[in-house]
């Protein structure tokens, strides 16, 4: 097994999960707190990575973050180098690719908090932020676990966008899924099998955590 790829994959998945949860929490709270057209447009945009081929996202990121666009030129000026084929570029790509997996569970959880409960808290003196912090967040805590596990597992398994944005640079942008692709290309089936089996086990464990906590919640209800 390519341990450098394993380390990189785990690092990428951890950073993606952490950054996405920080970004997804306020975004999901905003989406869940109303029915306006703007919210529905943003919700649809957030869900786009579910239906688009990863290569499409990767292609636009490659172009958008490159020197041919104003955004890309600004970023290059700010950080001194292009984001493509770097860990940071990979992180941005992963965040966009896994965005719906972090946002959707939180939107569902925030929207399902009983409205009268929020109203009472407000009448008793809690501001919108306090209601969110003291009532909505604690009542949605299990959904944060779901969002984190799904985001982590989805990032571990991504391929197309990593290949487009990151290329295949050993130790820098070669993740496990690309390592399997390389092994198969070079007919190293034993290595490919070992890595693939590890990914299957990791993904199964992640889903077991999600479904396990779902059963626990139904027992409590």
């Amino acid at each position: 097994m390519d341990f450098a790829a394993l380390g990189l994959t785990l690092r990428l998945a951890s950073f993606t999960t952490l950054c996405l949860l920080l970004l997804a929490t306020p975004l999901a709270a905003w989406i869940a707190n109303g029915n306006g057209v703007a919210r529905r447009i943003v919700q649809a945009a957030v869900a786009l990575p579910l239906v688009l081929p990863p290569t499409v996202l990767g292609f636009y990121l490659l172009i958008g973050l490159g020197p041919t666009t104003a955004l890309g030129r600004t970023l290059i000026t700010l950080i001194g180098h292009p984001l493509a084929f770097t860990f940071s570029g990979l992180l941005i790509g992963s965040m966009i690719y896994s965005l719906p997996f972090a946002v959707q569970p939180l939107v569902v959880a925030f929207a399902s908090v009983d409205r009268p409960t929020l109203e009472v808290a407000s009448v008793l003196g809690a501001s919108h932020f306090t209601v969110f912090r003291r009532i909505t967040l604690p009542l949605s805590r299990m959904s944060f676990l779901t969002a984190a596990v799904l985001t982590f597992a989805h990032t571990v398994g991504e391929f197309g966008i990593v290949l487009m944005v990151g290329g295949d640079i050993p130790g820098i942008t070669r993740t496990l899924s690309i390592s399997i692709f390389d092994d198969v290309q070079e007919l190293r089936y034993t290595d490919a099998n070992l890595t693939a089996a590890a990914l299957v086990a990791l993904s199964f464990l992640a889903l077991l955590i999600v479904y396990g906590r779902g059963n626990r919640r139904s027992e409590l209800a």
Partner: protein, 216 residues
Amino acid sequence: MTLSAPWSILFGPSGSGKSSILRAACGLIPSADVTFTQTLPHPPDQPQSLDRVPTHRRNLAYAPQGAVLFPHLTVRQNVSFATDIRRQPRSVSIDSALELFNLTPLAHRLPRDLSGGERQRVNLARAFAVPAPHLILLDEPFTGVDRSLRDLLLPRMQQLVAQQGIPVLSVTHDIEEALILNAEVIRLEQGHIVDQGPASQVLADERTRMLGILNA
């Protein structure tokens, strides 16, 4: 509608708009075309409109219909919620509120472990533990509470609000409750006030009817 007594009761059949008035007072019905004013007891003695004051700044105590508790908080944490969010030290009033509603032995339980009547008492205790509210609003406060306990709690509650000088507006369709409190009754029918005055006067017909049933 003007509240002049320390304890006023909105009385009327289901669907007469009693709960809606409480919700509007809390600012929970934004589209309601109403203006609430309060007359401050001390100078400046000016009516202060609450219409544009956001819900959380109205400084109200509220026990909604159906005992809406915070499911992740214990009984004590539910009761001390208003104090905690104001970052005030947990005062004796929390213990007093728990004591008042016979909740001290249940203080560390979660709402899911309580019976309907116990949940309702937590709902009331939480409203009575709000630090110095302008008004206490109680929506069908004794739903699920057995009558003997209700008869025990009502005088205690009346005494407490009289001591603290906090006005109460409660909603009920229970004639007994209105007569026991002997408070000012505002009678509602189909969203309109049809009568207002002392319970013995406004509910005289119902009182006579009840006495007739008891004497039969």
